[in-house]
Symmetry: none
Subunit: 139 residues, 2 copies
DNA sequence: AGTACAATAATACAATGATACAATTATGAA
DNA sequence: TTCATAATTGTATCATTGTATTATTGTACT
C-alpha cells in the first residue's frame, strides 16, 4: 500500500530548520533506508511543491543540492531520478548522516518545547526500551 | 468594511512604553477579542513599519517576541501568521505527549535505518552535547 | 560631563516567492 | 516518417520577507 510520496514527507513551517533542508534530510533518509531505490523517479518540482503547499523553487533548491551531493540526478525537461550507482561508500555515509539529522531534529524540537537535557535523554531511554521489547519478539 | 490593520493600531511615540511593547500589547488584545483569528496573516514587517512610520526592525522585534510567546508564527521568506492553535500556555500534558511523539519517531526512524540501541542512544548524547553548548542550557 | 543601558535605526544576509526562460518530450498534421 | 508546435520539466534571475549584527540615539544615573 504505497502512499503518495508527498505524504511520506513532513514539512514543519514553524521549524527553525528551512523547508529546503527538511526536504533534503528526509529524501536522503528514504534513500538510506531503501524506501527510495536507484532509478526511482521523484515527483516534478511543481507537483511536489503543490502537494506540500510550498513554492516550487524551494523544491528545486532541494533537488539541486541533492544533485550536487550526487544522490539524485536532475535533468532539465526530463525529471529527477535517484542516482543509479551511488558511490560504494555513499550509502553508509548517508545512513550516518541521516542518523545525525534525526538526532539533531529530535533535540532541536524537544528544546523548542522547553525540555531540559535530562528530560530529553530520559524520554529517549524510555522509548528505546519500549520499542526494543516489541522488536525482539518479532525478529 | 475592514480598516487597514495598521489603522487599528495606535502608536504613541511620546509614551514611556516602548513602541515594540505597544505593538505587542495591541496585537495580543486583538487576538484575545477575536479581531485577529488563527491563520490570519499579519502585514510584513516592512509594510506595517512604513504605515506606522517606525523602523521595520521595531516591528520585527515585536513579531519575534510574539513568536517566542507562541502567539504568532514568523516564517522567513513567507510572512507571519496567527498561530493555529494558540494554547496560552501549552499544557504540561500536551508538552509531554509531544516529547513522547518526538522520541518515538526518532527511535523508529533510526531503527528503520538499521542502527542498534547503543548507536541510537550514543548519537543522541552527542547531539545533546553539541546543541547544549550552543544554547548555554544553565540559564 | 561621563557611563551604562535600552530602544531604535542601518545594513547585510538567508529563505521563500514570482516570473521568464531553456531543454526535453508528447502530439498531431503533412 | 518528419517536422512543427504545444506541453512539461528543470533553471536562472530578481523581488519579497524575516533574521542577524552592528551602529546610533536617547535616557537615567553618578
Amino acid at each position: 500500500m504505497n502512499k503518495r510520496f508527498s505524504e511520506t514527507l513532513q514539512i514543519d513551517l514553524r521549524s527553525d530548520l528551512p523547508i529546503y533542508l527538511q526536504l533534503i534530510e528526509q529524501i536522503k533518509r528514504q534513500i538510506a533506508d531503501g524506501t527510495l531505490k536507484p532509478g526511482d523517479q521523484l515527483p516534478t518540482v511543481r507537483s511536489l511543491a503543490e502537494e506540500l503547499r510550498v513554492n516550487f523553487n524551494t523544491v528545486a533548491r532541494s533537488y539541486r543540492m541533492l544533485d550536487e551531493a550526487g544522490v539524485i540526478s536532475t535533468q532539465q525537461g526530463r525529471g529527477t531520478y535517484i542516482t543509479e550507482k551511488p558511490p560504494p561508500e555513499l550509502s553508509d555515509r548517508l545512513r550516518r548522516e541521516s542518523l545525525m539529522a534525526l538526532a539533531s531534529r529530535y533535540v532541536r524540537e524537544a528544546r523548542r518545547l522547553g525540555f531540559s537535557s535530562d528530560e530529553i535523554r530520559q524520554k529517549l531511554l524510555d522509548q528505546l526500551e519500549v520499542q526494543t521489547e516489541l522488536n525482539n519478539e518479532g525478529e
